[in-house]
Amino acid sequence: MTRTSYEIGHIQHYYGDKKVLDIDQLKILQGSITGLSGPNGSGKSTLLKIMAFAMKPSFGQVKFKGRKETPFSPRIRSRISLLTQKPYLLKRTVFENISYGLKIRKDLNNLENRVKDSLETVGLDFQEFAQRKWHELSGGEAQRVAMAARLILKPEVLLLDEPVASVDNKSASLIRKASLAARNDWGCTLVIASHDLQWLYECSDTRISMARGRIFSTGTENIIPPPYDLSLKNQPVKALDKGEHILLPLTDKKDGTAVIQTEKISISNEKKGNRKFNNQATGVILSMLLEKSSNHIMTTIQVGDFSLNLSFSPGKAEELGLQPGKKIILMFRSKDIEWR
């Protein structure tokens, strides 16, 4: 039976008066990899900080392994670790940075070998790096040291917030590899927030999109993100490039997010005089990734200032001649768009 790591119920978080997180329900299974995507400011980092119990949500509760927990609870302190995009390295040597977590737990057995192993996991040589000071590392090396400092703790949950966003390709690849090794070696539950969709599609069991602090299921639905022009009484719209726009259904919600089920979107190589679809928007294929779990091709299409993800069978993709850079027409009905 698969057990649940996290059960998040009806949490909201505010910075001042601004609501930045509003999640009704989210469950994360033990040993799973969850990919979290969404634009900057969508609430990914706040959600991860709350999941790391580094802060409390303004409302609602977070259960870890069935129990409601709060920051600094001894039960969760040694089990959950968060790696941010620009982690802080203590003003000490690499060795001291990596061994810090074990030292505060007074777990000093075989310390040198454990530091050596965790450094090797992230591709850094013990002899060369152990005695280096924090300011003698490049950005990518510093990120790898921070990753090693977390891996040495063998946490049950590793939360990664844009871990490869500001590092070189080699460091990014090593961090990706090390995070997967954590799941394979000791069943670590991973939650990864990243703009690197290819990585998320390749490794994650579940993918979640975030917008305006809310979560949506990637693959089955797509977000048409704000801003919206709600000034027209009869027809709210989402403005696109070159005078195009998407017609949205009427709504009373001032802070709602427009969402459309993926199955409601059709594509074509040219615009049609078809009255069935009152929305026909031009998009450009940004990327096409093979989704391991379904063997389908996840296609990311740029439309105006946002992108949609559609999944095609390899045969369908070939039939439509889909390839990155190609212009296509997305067709859907405004009444199929929901406000949430």
Binding site: F72, S81, L82, T84, G101, I104, L153
Partner: protein, 228 residues
Amino acid sequence: MDFIVAGFLKAIELLISFDPSTWTAVSATIKVSTFSMLISLATGLPCGFVLGYLDFRWKRALRTILDTLLALPTVTVGLLVYALISSQGPLGEYQLLFTLTGIAIGQTILAFPIVTAITASIVENIDPELKLTLVSLGAGKKNIIVTCLWEVRYGILAAAVTAYGRVLTEVGISMMVGGNIKYHTRTITTAIALETNKGLFANGIALGIVLLGIAFTVNLSLSFLRKQ
């Protein structure tokens, strides 16, 4: 100009010959400044951490008062301590007036706001990622306080040096509370003031050299610690 040169030569002679009046002033200065710094660091560091780290209702008002106290005139502190420890004051029964302990109390009052205010500013400016990193590595509240203070240790050393400089060079408290009693409560600064008034520049210059020497030694030690 000649009398300054003669003063320097005389100063060297006084120091080498271990002149009792010069060396008792040096000893008194080191004793009171060390005591006052130990107490102000022991109390000012935790207070500064709390003030810089936590958010509470009267924080801003408290910071304003503390920042005002950075410019506290030494004679005002001298007056306050004199009033408290004189025979008519609330602490008169302890007979602290004209003692080194009395001077140290005054100097502690002088150094405390400096240590607290600078520590609070340093702690306020700690990278928010530090706390997040420590929580991520499993640190508890006590670990977070100790590690945060350790991370800003160079800033705290600067706070200590600033406060020490103020304590070492003050005249008002030592003069008013200590009474400038020879071989007893005379400190380097009160001795310099007295000797200069008497026209004995050599003694004044000798003590000035020692004062600079103490400041230099303290800074040199801190610089060595920083390198470590």
